[in-house]
């Protein structure tokens, strides 16, 4: 809502001979919730991972707070990813041998927080997301919706400024999906975090402040202001 927090300039990314991104340019504002949509195969997930500093583009650049990600040392990039960014995937990101609470505490433990304090934060976040009743359960025992809310708690526990979510409700039924999405956006907005939300679901996209459409590896031009409707 104020300045540009995160931006991509002419980003190109290929996997072997397949060009997933062919010059993608966009910006995300401070505190904005942006949906990234487009047909399957358009490069949405790849774009998300480039913005989140997980994948490195072959050409172009990604900037966070005005600093180029490719100019950061490996250590600084890791620290950025752990402290300032949170990542929520469609499924399968909870470590099977840890309880829900331990999973949520994991990023803090890797950032050398004291164990008891880390567990307290983890429980507080589980409570905020309505998942405190499964704190001692293992991921295998959780329903899809519960697992996603634990994953969101883990993404938020370090107080990140940007949450990256890749089809967070894709594996869930409509009702659970709505609950999870509302939990994610309420928690993100309460901490003034920006959200970049990859989705192929229009109803999910409608929850965002605006939409970025990716087609064939590039960002589509924005619709011109609609003429007066009849």
């Amino acid at each position: 809502m104020t300045g540009v927090l995160l931006a991509a300039h002419a980003v190109r990314k290929a996997f072997g001979r397949t060009e997933a991104l062919r010059g993608a340019t966009l910006s995300i504002g401070d505190g904005e919730v942006v949906a990234v949509t487009g047909p399957s195969g358009s490069g949405k997930s790849t774009l998300l991972m480039c913005l989140a500093g997980v994948l490195r583009p072959e050409a172009g650049r990604v900037e966070y707070g005005g600093r180029r990600l490719d100019e950061l040392s490996e250590r600084d990039r890791t620290r950025l990813r752990r402290r300032e960014f949170g990542l929520v995937l469609q499924f399968g990101q909870l470590v099977p041998e840890l309880t829900a609470a331990q999973n949520v505490a994991l990023p803090l433990l890797f950032e050398r927080h004291e164990r008891a304090a880390a567990m307290r934060s983890a429980l507080a976040w589980l409570e905020r997301l309505g998942a405190d009743d499964v704190a001692s359960a293992r991921p295998g025992e959780l329903s899809g919706g519960e697992a996603q809310r634990v994953a969101i708690a883990r993404a938020l526990v370090t107080g990140p400024r940007v949450i990256f979510a890749d089809e967070p409700t894709g594996a869930l039924d409509t009702v659970s999906g709505d609950r999870v999405l509302n939990a994610l956006l309420t928690a993100a907005r309460a901490s003034y975090a920006s959200v970049v939300l990859v989705t192929h679901d229009n109803r999910v996209a409608a929850h965002a402040d605006r939409e970025i459409v990716l087609r064939d590896g590039v960002v589509e031009p924005v619709a011109s202001p609609a003429a007066a409707t009849p």
Binding site: M49, R81, G92, V95, E97, F110, R138, P139, R154
Partner: protein, 204 residues
């Protein structure tokens, strides 16, 4: 080590396993073979204690499987890998050891072709590499039982050899390695193959 007694398991209205009984002892590489829908993945998850059977019992190391909470007794490599995106390849693979303050075999990552990418964020690697990372995590504590659900699905011919070697090595070192798969390459190196068809053990 593993005892499955008259297990029938349902999910909703579908019966996935029908009156399955099985006994496996000691270190070996055992394959649960069958097509998709045969119930092999479900049987794996029951042995790993992820859920309780609708009927019958599953015992691991003489106790109910669902009560085993120790990765050094039973570890699991699920189909969806379950890797933490905030961590690197090495951090994911060695997490169980790190949590217990245990020393790690320095050759583990190298034996699975992961040493060159050890510090990469785990999702910056190929699916094949991610799968091998998840396998390393399942084997790092030298568990009594390692349950692996389709561990070769993303492996090309160049890398599957590393994976097969790791399975055989783990079995020789004392782990009961239970693999659900339809991959003939794994079946070829197995000590024992149990075939499942439509939720039942098929007599060969």
């Amino acid at each position: 080590m593993i005892r499955v007694d008259n297990v029938t398991h349902r999910q909703g209205t579908v019966t996935i396993l029908r009156d399955v009984s099985l006994s496996l002892g000691g270190a070996a590489l055992v394959v649960l073979a069958g097509r998709s829908g045969s119930g092999k993945s479900t049987l794996c998850h029951l042995v790993a204690g992820v859920m309780r059977p609708s009927a019958g019992s599953v015992l691991v190391a003489d106790g109910p499987a669902h009560r085993v909470r120790d990765w050094a007794v039973v570890s699991l490599l699920p189909q969806r890998l379950a890797l933490a995106p905030e961590l690197s390849v090495a951090e994911n693979a060695l997490l169980p050891a790190r949590l217990r303050g245990r020393a790690v075999d320095p050759l583990l990552l190298e034996s699975l072709g992961l040493d060159a990418i050890a510090d990469r964020p785990v999702h910056e690697t190929s699916l094949g590499e991610q799968q091998r990372t998840a396998l390393a995590r399942a084997l790092v504590l030298g568990p009594s039982v390692a349950v692996l659900d389709e561990p070769t699905g993303h492996q090309d011919d160049e890398h599957v050899g590393l994976l097969l070697d790791a399975l055989v090595t783990a079995a020789r070192a004392g782990t009961l390695v239970l693999v659900a798969t339809h991959d003939q390459r794994v079946i070829d190196v197995a000590d024992e193959t149990v075939r499942l068809r439509s939720g039942r053990i098929a007599a060969d």
